[in-house]
Symmetry: C2
Subunit: 366 residues, 2 copies
């Protein structure tokens, strides 16, 4: 095991001790690969790292999947279960008399229910209460990895705003596939999503790319990202196919100002909700408040969305190494919408945007 992972393990044990958690149970999600390098398969056969505060860790895994694991006895041992065994029973046995447990946020509910029935007096909480604050603070190598992923996404976004990705006459789904292929060509191992919302669909922030054919004179919101060497990219740019109406220009200009102000506000010590508030105040001040219907951003790292969330109610102050999106949007239902998104890292020298693609409204004639 590489020493960064062993160092993380030590920090996790310290955090468990502060939080009064005496056993961590890691299954689906990024906590497991962050600590062990192994990602559990999202299937009905339970994979779970049992990590007691006071004893060695054991990775419980179906025996047929065990050859996938690079075991490291300095960090954990592997315990394979056979098809007719009950893996939850094995986990319960390893938990032993410990009763303050934390389980992966994304573990399947069915396994949690089985565990609760086998250890009925256990007190359970989400693992992110222990691991979230640790994973949210990226070290230098993680920031480099995020920067590399962002740069790869930037090359695709540059092609978009410069008109190298043809839009008019193609369906949203075709453009989405094109963007996905470009993400891979630029170095991503995996495409996580490639939202393409055109015309009225640009007003639906989580729109699926459909068979709708993009026309001239339309807003097109493109929000895409992938995973490159384990770390995620995520960028949004909005382009207009042809000359935008004045009303769209006005809306976009407010959005651009709000996004830039929120990035500028993302300095160490600023509460997350304040970054959200900066964007929201500008948008509301221009009369679009009811059309900004989502939070300003989310943390990013091994997962597309993780701590810290840039949202009202999150008073957590930014610290150096926090990496997150800043992505306000304005959406007029049935008409059009726009969003601008960059990944930003809080540093002692101020906010550092990892995406560098121009924010000006791109008018493309393609």
């Amino acid at each position: 095991m590489t020493s960064p992972r062993l160092a993380r393990l030590e920090r996790v044990r310290a955090a468990m001790s502060s939080a009064g958690v005496d056993c961590l149970l890691l299954s689906l999600g990024a906590d497991l690969p962050w600590l062990t390098g192994y990602t559990a398969m999202p299937l009905e056969r339970l994979t779970m790292l049992v990590l007691p505060a006071d004893a060695d860790a054991t990775l419980v895994i179906a025996r047929l999947e065990a050859p996938r694991v690079a075991e490291d006895p300095s960090a954990f041992t592997v315990l394979g279960w056979d098809e007719t065994e009950d893996p939850v029973e094995i986990v319960a046995r390893l938990v032993g008399t410990r009763r303050h447990l934390a389980i992966s946020d994304r573990a399947w509910a069915t396994f949690l229910l089985q565990l609760q029935s086998q250890v009925p007096d256990a007190q359970l909480r989400a693992a992110s209460t222990v691991t979230g604050p640790l994973r949210a603070v990226k070290d230098a190598s993680e920031v480099s990895a995020l920067a590399a992923a962002s740069s790869a996404a930037d090359r695709v976004a540059t092609a978009l705003v410069e008109g190298d990705i043809s839009l008019v006459g193609r369906s949203e789904a075709e453009v989405s596939d094109d963007i996905g292929r470009r993400l891979v060509a630029e170095g991503h191992q995996r495409v996580n999503f490639a939202i393409v919302g055109s015309g009225p669909n640009s007003a639906s922030p989580h729109h699926d790319a459909t068979s709708r054919v993009i026309g001239p004179g339309e807003a097109v919101v493109c929000d895409f990202g992938g995973t490159l060497d384990g770390y995620c990219s995520d960028i949004t740019r909005t382009v207009f196919t042809g000359d935008p109406p004045d009303e769209f220009r006005a809306l976009y200009s407010v959005l651009q100002e709000a996004q830039a102000a929120a990035v500028a506000a993302a300095s160490v010590g600023t509460p997350c909700e304040r970054v959200d508030g900066v964007a929201r105040d500008i948008i509301a001040g221009a009369g679009y408040g009811q059309y900004f219907i989502h939070r300003t951003g989310h943390g990013i790292g091994l997962e597309e969305h993780e701590d810290p969330y840039i949202v009202g109610g999150n008073g957590q102050p930014l610290v150096p190494g926090h990496a997150f999106s800043v992505e306000p949007g304005i959406y007029l239902p049935g008409r059009y919408g726009a969003r601008i998104e960059d990944i930003v890292v809080a540093t002692d020298e101020g906010p550092r945007a990892l995406n560098r693609v121009d924010h000006a409204l791109a008018v493309v004639e393609v």
Copy 2:
């Protein structure tokens, strides 16, 4: 909403009543699209259908995702939540005084924990205890959809066994990508997996395709599948690059006999574990028992793996419409392995294999 979905809703309510479940809570996994046509995004914003036995259903969803849903008031209404609201609180309010709840098997543990803290006296179980037996029985249109997906996978498997997919000199990962592209070209909308295990890696049933370059004189296990119009394919064929040693031929011949016998045994009324036992007895009888380290199969439908599981301990008898894989394997660690897999449907006329690609050991010189 199409009437099949309304009919399913009625059957679910009847099953809830028999099981003493007074509210079903559906989030990630296939139960939700099976009933509503909508698939929840696997993200930290909760999507949950609250389906009381005695009242109308409500889909609780982040407001920004609500435009993705095709609402059907005859089946459910949509309730959007804002970024600063607590969706679990909304779910708890809709649950009301009901206390016998069932939650999606794949719902995130963190949401289950939050729900348990807000409804501390609720009794919870996995939703599959209600929906699993219903979803396991495919109607005629679902069998057609599975057959179409299987045929598409068959066309790729035919290319493999006929030597149209070049192997020697390419990495497992390259071959895996090639198979994935072919699955899409044959009509799948999504590739779910494309395992390629060569040489010693063929002895690891859930091997990830790696940079290992395939050589001559090697076993290559290819297990792949995707989703076509919502339903999954899943097929495995093992080929040998060049003339196989006698020992491999002998092993393969046992495997082929075991797989065929298990398919033949999969008639209506036969317990699932008996189908497993038929394959296992033949393999054990030939001295390979310890090298068949997984169950014989799994149900398939909207999900790659679902009820019924063809595994020791599952005494459930097959009924018409049960669709499942039959995929015994023999794996000699460090040397080589083989697996043969078809999707089979239990019918009143006997077992119907949806995959039709030849089972004979394919020797490919490519």
